[in-house]
């Protein structure tokens, strides 16, 4: 069964879910998360009719944690941006408690900020990517979205942790989120980046400042930081992201699954027609751009890789002076769901791409950096693998929100 929200909806829950920490939680995923037997087209005609053969590691863990898988919502093509994405809509109703959405450039955080929910992008390498049809392998994580942070954390606790089949994960145990949080010192120093403010327009600036003021009022120490060339995050994500996307989408040739164009000439002609017909305009231009850097302008890609290293180090240094960094999650001026070009897309994701570039954990909190003109979302970023502290701070701030 499909509708405007779901591409697939599970109607028959053959066996009742197991007893576990997630019993009673209803989860929606995207059609890029492998669930055995579900159509898994990753939002693209290039995967038309592809049905997952096996559960993703994340899905296996959800099942054994007792969660109910409700279905998969519509997603942007191959998960680039949020065009046509319905996951947040699915989560805002009563039917679903938590949604899983691949955070490639900030999708989990922006989708939740737009709809008044919590959006969490875990540290790179703490949640298995096996069975998740990705686009930009070095930047993406399985993001978690929900109205209640407790549920988001509960799901994170079950799905995070080493998977011997995902070699990009570090072989080290993850602390028990729930337990560690209780005994943790809640971070108290929050850094704000001067250069970010300059990228905002007046009304966005005011909304974000309202959030910072709230933090101050609650006793948090605010520290002004400078991050020169902050806009480089966007450029680096754009160059490296498009190159990785071009590579990882090379497999969509229409031979084994997906749309296949008729061709009476030869295989090369068939490939060209198939890919030409399969991809939509936005992703096509992104893949083109990636191929351009691969074939025609490799030095720029190398520059981007080098600059990425510099940005990671710089971010680490800043986080030695504060507990977390606060950023707005989204722009009010740019609607991520309506972006039709690469430039518009990156404009809308300006403040979320840094965590994807560096691999840091990041959490977007609703109704905090907000006023009558809107909610930009309060995005907090912590050091790599400091997810527990970040989520603990999130809980603290969420109680403030509830108290307001």
């Amino acid at each position: 069964m499909t509708c405007h929200i779901y591409t697939h909806k599970e109607t028959s829950h053959i066996s009742s879910p197991r007893e576990g920490p997630l019993t009673g939680l209803k989860i929606v995923v995207q059609p890029n998360m492998s669930v055995t037997g579900w159509p898994t087209n990753a939002g693209s005609r290039a995967l038309n009719g592809y049905v997952a053969l096996e559960d993703a590691t994340v899905v296996k863990r959800l099942r054994s944690g007792g969660a109910t898988l409700v279905g998969s919502a519509r997603m942007s093509e191959l998960g680039f941006g949020l065009g046509g994405d319905t996951l947040a809509e699915a989560c805002s109703g009563d039917e679903v408690t938590v949604g899983l959405i691949t955070d490639t450039m900030g999708e989990a955080r922006i989708a939740s900020a737009v709809s008044g929910m919590f959006g969490y992008k875990p540290s790179f390498g703490i949640i298995s990517r096996l069975g998740m049809i990705g686009l930009i392998p070095s930047m993406e994580s399985c993001g978690i979205v929900g109205k209640h942070l407790e549920n988001v954390i509960a799901v994170a606790e079950v799905i995070a942790g080493f998977d011997e089949n995902d070699f990009s994960m570090a072989d080290e145990p993850l602390p028990d989120l729930g337990e560690s949080m209780k005994s943790l010192r809640i971070p108290s120093t929050v850094g704000v980046i001067e250069e970010c403010h300059r990228m905002l327009n007046e009304s966005e600036k005011n909304v974000f400042k309202a959030g910072i003021t709230k933090l101050k009022d609650k006793g948090f120490k605010i520290k002004e930081l400078s991050f020169e060339n902050f806009e480089l995050f966007r450029a680096v994500h754009n160059v490296i992201g498009s190159v990785e996307a071009s590579s990882s989408s090379g497999k969509y040739d229409g031979v084994r699954y997906g749309h296949r164009a008729a061709s009476d000439k030869n295989w090369n002609d068939m490939y060209l027609k198939t890919r030409g017909e399969s991809f939509g305009t936005l992703i096509k231009s992104y893949l083109f751009q990636g191929a351009y850097f691969q074939f025609e302008n490799y030095p720029s890609f190398e520059d981007a890789c080098r600059i990425r290293g510099g940005l990671v180090r710089k971010m680490s240094r800043l986080l030695e002076t504060v507990d977390v960094i606060a950023l707005p999650t989204r722009r009010l001026m740019f609607d991520a769901t309506n972006a039709t070009t690469i430039a518009e897309t990156y404009e809308a994701f300006s403040f979320t791409v840094p965590a994807n570039v560096t691999g840091q954990p990041s959490l977007s909190i609703p109704r905090f950096a907000s006023d009558s003109t809107g909610d930009v979302g309060l995005q907090i970023l912590g050091e790599h693998k400091s997810d527990v502290r970040l989520l603990a701070l999130g809980m603290e701030l969420s109680s403030i929100v509830k108290g307001v």
Partner: protein, 475 residues
């Protein structure tokens, strides 16, 4: 003007690991098509590569055998190109950070002198699928067999130190010997587990320029490598003499016409660091462990055979060429048989027999025990050399004991003087003119009588005794 060739070889060797490079599928490309496949080697959406520890270890062992320096850090890149044998659009290979660099191999050059050929680097990569072109009715179709997709390869890239077909033959042979010794690879050109591409350019003798090169592929034997290079040297020299420019391109060796034919412009796609396979960081401890697994290599072994067993340089080299054979030799010697006898029987009888059968010693039924038993019977005069050769051939194909074979074939040596005397007397009586000739001083006639007598005894006569009797009777 005289020209010399500048030749570099790129050699792909398939490692003999149990599984493929990035998944647990059997590394057995010859099986029924598409039997050994999984989401990873088919690159279905959502699959992830998992680097095989075994492949990394075997690759490292191979690099050590080629005197390379293992790099503290190496990493996989995506070699981007689109072709039906590579449906994910890129080959995982090590371009920017190869596993090992700066190796060498020694050969004997054409002038008889030792020549050191340098190896630029060795990197790991995955093999691609195999395409099968057929017709369905009248429509040509291409089928893809993924059994080979993801099989572990190493590519050994030489420096352009080679100058002749001779160098190429010796380089490939030496490299094959070294790699087989490590047990990491079979290195059979016929079976495609060792593939050679040659880059060839020409320059005036005395120049140290590197001119435009031509790549030649598709040689499936060492002889073909040498012939293709010789052909290409001639072809390029003629072009240069005619004033035609050499263009960078790839040519295919045509084994039937024995010529190289142009295939395409030399293609080199981009190489992008792969984000999914973690980089390889080699620790000294790990490297020590691999180093310990490196066996005594053929050169050292030959030297030891020379010193410890008093073999000739030829015997020592022959005996150490293949690891299995060298171990076989030492085990037989340890059973107390005379070294030179063992060595000469291996070199002159066992090895040629294996070559005739196109088998390795492991593929036959012979064991060191049965071989030693055979030589013992020969030593003690139970059988003669002629019979021993016959027994040896049987030892290779069934598992009867040498004793059984001798009894069943009545191959026991005849050392009965009376029997041999009777036999000789009859021959001498039948050939009075030859007897006369011998007595006139033609000593060669002795060989003729020996041959007749041996034949009359059905090859079983004790040759020593035979000669004694003949000498007595003729003298």
């Amino acid at each position: 003007m005289r020209y010399e060739a500048v030749i570099g070889l790129e050699i792909h060797v398939q490692l003999n690991t149990i599984t493929k490079l990035f998944c647990d599928c059997p590394n057995s490309p010859g099986d029924e098509p598409n039997k050994n496949t999984c989401p990873t080697c088919l690159w279905l959406p959502g699959a992830l590569p998992r680097l095989s520890a075994d492949a990394l270890e075997k690759a490292t062992l191979a690099c050590l055998a080629l005197n390379c320096t293992i790099q503290p850090e190496s990493a996989f890149d995506q070699k981007v190109y689109y072709y039906p044998d590579l449906p994910k659009g890129y080959q995982l290979s090590q371009h920017h950070k190869p596993l090992a660099r700066n190796g060498w191999i020694d050969i004997i050059g054409e002038d008889g002198e030792l020549k050191r050929l340098r190896i630029h680097h060795v990197h790991m990569e995955e093999d691609v699928a195999r395409l099968v072109h057929e017709t369905e009715g009248k429509t040509p179709i291409s089928l893809v067999d993924f059994n080979r997709a993801g099989a572990p390869l190493i590519e050994i890239v030489s420096e352009p130190d080679l100058r002749s077909p001779h160098d190429a033959i010796e380089y490939v042979k030496a490299l094959r010997t070294q790699l087989r010794y490590t047990g990491s690879a079979e290195c059979s050109m016929e079976q495609g587990t060792l593939r050679v591409d040659a880059n060839i350019s020409m320059r005036p003798v005395g120049s140290d320029a590197f001119n435009t090169k031509v790549e030649v592929k598709n040689m499936n034997s060492i002889r073909n490598v040498a012939e293709a290079i010789a052909y290409e040297i001639k072809r390029q020299t003629e072009s240069i003499e005619k004033g035609e420019p050499i263009v960078l391109h790839t040519r295919l060796w045509d084994p039937d016409k024995r010529v190289t034919l142009p295939m395409r412009e030399k293609f080199s796609g981009p190489c992008v660091p792969d984000p999914s396979v973690p980089r390889i960081v080699v620790t000294p401890d790990w490297l020590d462990k691999i180093q310990m697994r490196l066996p005594e290599m053929p050169m050292q072994k030959a030297n030891r055979f020379l010193k410890d067993y008093g073999l000739t340089p030829e015997e020592a080299a022959g005996m150490s060429q293949e690891r299995d054979m060298s171990e076989f030799f030492e085990e037989v010697v340890r059973k107390g048989l005379p070294v030179r006898r063992v060595a000469s029987w291996i070199v002159t009888h066992l090895m040629p027999a294996l070559r005739d059968r196109n088998q390795t010693i492991r593929e036959t039924t012979i064991t060191t025990n049965r071989f030693a038993e055979l030589l013992t019977m020969l030593e003690s005069g139970v059988i003669n050399a002629h019979a021993a050769k016959e027994v040896l051939l049987q030892l290779l194909s069934d598992d009867q004991s040498p004793e059984e074979i001798v009894e069943k074939g009545s191959l026991r040596q005849v050392s009965d003087t009376a029997e041999l005397e009777g036999l000789i007397d009859k021959i001498l009586a039948d050939h009075p003119s030859d007897v006369e000739e011998y007595r006139q001083g033609n000593a060669k006639i002795m060989g003729f009588f020996m041959g007749l007598a041996m034949k009359a005894s059905q090859g079983k006569a004790n040759p020593k005794l035979l000669k004694e009797i003949l000498t007595k009777r003729l003298g």
